[in-house]
């Protein structure tokens, strides 16, 4: 009986100690999709990543899809956003609806003249902070070549504050083939910018290895 009592006490103690530090386990993912120039041809790959995300995200998690165009710091660029219901059956229905929105967007996709990655990042951080999720991810599906419209100011530090940024399918441009250092400089510039802002940076070019997408 004493052993039973001891085991019960231990279990309750562990339970109480586990309750002492509430932690938000929800995840929020914001996917930025480059729609400039020839990069629109990569939309099928982006759809594959989104489907993968819909498969692994749990009830209570948040997901948003936004395009990167000439001026991306705008709610108008958010294609679809959702926080999944805590009930799995409802969350599954929401995932189906999200999938439909994404397919609709892919059909009517038009290329943009400029590529405002920084604006998209700022919009992403704003959305992610609003969700209040425990883990925040920005997935950027782009070649990372930023082209800002004349007059737009984007050259300033960004506070990522623990946001994990994952660059996906960072394609090499023609100019990169001439001088590969350009590609490396683009990646390094974003790495510095994210890490100096308190975030983490990761590049995944092999889309068959998405299992490490969300840690």
């Amino acid at each position: 009986m004493k052993t039973l009592l001891f085991a019960t006490t231990l279990f309750v103690t562990l339970l109480i100690s586990g309750c002492s530090e509430p932690k938000n386990h929800n995840r929020a993912v914001y996917m930025l999709l480059d729609t400039s120039g020839t990069y629109t041809q990569q939309i099928e790959k982006a759809q594959g990543i989104l489907k993968y995300l819909l498969g692994i995200l749990n009830p209570g998690d948040s997901l948003a899809l936004a395009r990167i165009d000439s001026a991306s710091f705008s709610e108008k660029d958010i294609v679809a956003k959702i926080t999944f219901d805590i009930r799995p059956s409802k969350a599954n229905s929401q995932k189906r609806a999200f999938l439909e929105s994404m397919e609709k967007f892919a059909k009517n996709l038009k290329g943009s003249s400029y590529t405002d990655i920084t604006g998209g990042m700022l919009q992403a951080i704003e959305y992610l902070n609003e969700t209040g999720a425990g883990e925040k991810y920005i997935l950027i599906f782009s070649d990372l070549k930023e082209e800002i419209k004349k007059g737009h100011i984007r050259d300033f530090p960004i506070a990522f504050d623990g946001t994990k940024v994952v660059a996906l399918n960072v394609t090499k441009l023609r100019s990169d083939n001439v001088d590969p250092r350009e590609y490396q400089q683009r990646v390094d510039a974003w790495t510095d910018r994210v890490e100096s802002g308190g975030g983490t940076w990761k590049v995944i070019n092999d889309l068959d290895r998405l299992d490490s997408l969300l840690d």
Binding site: G18, G60, I86, P88, S89, K95
Partner: protein, 469 residues
């Protein structure tokens, strides 16, 4: 000061010579301090050894106390168990007596009736020899009359002979008839005999059952006497029994844990539909906690049910309750278990629906055409049945749990006693090693200053002949 400078302190250009000077200085110093150094080494090592000895002795005493406590626990538990077994045997004897021998008076009455009937029939079937005719004596007298050649007398005698013959034939016929009747009566007795044999066989069986029970009780009583006398045989027997119980109940509990896990898997997913999949208690999902809670409640209900039925004795307060209250607890716990089993069965069905929905979504996401699988109802029904049965199956966890708790007290005590014994031996060994190392250090010390010691010896040898003179 660096070590290289230290060794070349005396002759900087020749570090070897300088080091040699240092060695000579150290040897001389060590020679001077030889006696106090020896004493210091021996005092330190002896002190450590003594401290370790005391420690080893304390551990030894603790081990002995623990052994005594283990023995007491073992004997107490063995005594309790044997009392329980004997009590159960007496209950069985009581049941046999109540069930079988309570009808003994009616049985006896039946037997008496049967015997009376048989007796009556037997009396009726008795052979009564036919009485000789009364006129036989008269015939004898007539037959003694001398005939003297008279034809009248001869005729009379012939007539008498004829009459006598007829009478005898009549008597034989009557006798045969009576015999036939007697045989008929004896034939009638046969079913009574059979019935009597049957009754007696049944009585014999009951008496044999009682005899067997009494033999078992005798054996158990001997066992009990051994335990009360606290003999070494009883201790060995109980220890062996405890170890066996510990491993067997541990194995059963392990299997039951797997069953509990399966049960948990059936409940966890549908619970997320109720309490939400996104909420956590600490680092565990709230739905998982809820599922574990349901299973824990089922196990607790099972414990109470088994306790109330009298199978286990984990809670003395329940076993001391009167039968009426225990029956109430039995009914209440059983109803609760039934409700939980029904809930779990429906949750299992819900789980199947959710899993199918998730599977369909995965197929849509992977671009595969969704197909409704054949015989989908089979796993659904299977899960529902499992969900209903498992709560009742978990009820029986109480039996191995009780065995495990009781046997683990003994086994853990034994393991701890072995550990203390080994610890005591290790401490003692360490003490002896330290004591030996003290003597070894003294020898090494002397080895380092062997040169001045040799000189001292030579001087003493040189002096000693003078002394002898």
């Amino acid at each position: 000061m660096e070590s290289s400078n230290f060794w070349s302190f005396w002759v900087p250009s020749q570090p070897g010579v300088s080091a040699l000077i240092w060695v000579v200085i150290f040897v001389i110093l060590m020679y001077i301090a030889r006696t106090p150094a020896h004493q210091a080494i021996l005092v330190v090592t002896h002190s450590i050894r003594n401290a370790l000895r005391v420690m080893a002795r304390s551990v030894w005493i603790a081990e002995e106390k623990l052994q005594r406590r283990n023995r007491e626990v073992l004997m107490a538990h063995g005594k309790e168990e044997t009392e329980r077994v004997i009590e159960r045997e007496f209950q069985r004897v009581e049941a046999i007596i109540n069930r079988d021998l309570s009808g003994y008076p009616s049985l006896q009455r039946d037997l008496n009736e049967q015997i009376t009937r048989i007796d009556e029939d037997y009396v009726q079937s008795g052979e009564v020899p036919p009485k000789p005719p009364e006129w036989l004596k008269a015939i004898e007298t007539v037959a003694q009359i001398p005939s003297e050649g008279s034809p009248v007398v001869g005729k009379i005698l012939n007539d008498i002979h004829g009459t006598l013959k007829k009478s005898l034939e009549k008597n034989v016929a009557e006798y045969r008839k009576a015999n036939k009747e007697r045989h008929g009566l004896l034939k009638k007795m046969m079913p009574y005999w059979r019935s009597l044999t049957k009754i007696l066989t049944s009585v014999e069986k009951k008496i044999t059952g009682l005899e067997n029970r009494s033999t078992i009780i005798d054996n158990k009583m001997q066992h009990y006497e051994e335990i009360v006398a606290k003999t070494a045989y009883a201790e060995r027997m109980l220890s062996s029994s405890s170890l066996t119980q510990f491993f067997i109940s541990g194995l059963v509990l392990f299997i039951a844990t797997i069953g509990g896990y399966v049960n948990f898997q059936l409940v966890a997913l549908p619970m997320s539909e109720m309490v939400g999949a996104g909420s956590y208690v600490g680092s565990i999902r709230a739905s998982d906690v809820a599922a574990m809670f349901i299973i824990a409640i089922e196990v607790i209900l099972g414990l109470f049910l088994m306790e109330s039925v009298g199978v286990t004795r984990l809670f003395p307060i329940i076993s001391t309750l009167d039968d009426k209250k225990r029956k109430v607890i039995i009914v209440v716990t059983f109803v609760f278990l039934l409700v939980f089993a029904t809930i779990e069965s429906s949750l299992a069905y819900m789980r199947d629906m959710l899993a199918a929905d998730r599977e369909a979504l995965s197929q849509v996401l992977s671009g595969v055409e969704v197909e409704e699988p054949q015989f989908r109802w089979i796993p659904s029904v299977g899960q529902m049945v499992m969900g209903f049965i498992l709560p009742f199956a978990l009820t029986f966890v109480a039996i191995p749990l009780e065995s495990f708790i009781h046997s683990s007290r003994t086994v853990l005590g034994m393991v701890l006693a072995w550990f203390l014994r080994i610890l005591s031996l290790v401490i003692r060994l360490l003490g002896n090693l330290i004591n030996g190392s003290g003597k070894f250090l003294v020898t090494v010390y002397d080895l380092a200053i062997f040169l001045p010691l040799r000189i001292e010896q030579l001087i003493q040898n040189r002096k000693s002949p003078d002394t002898s003179k």
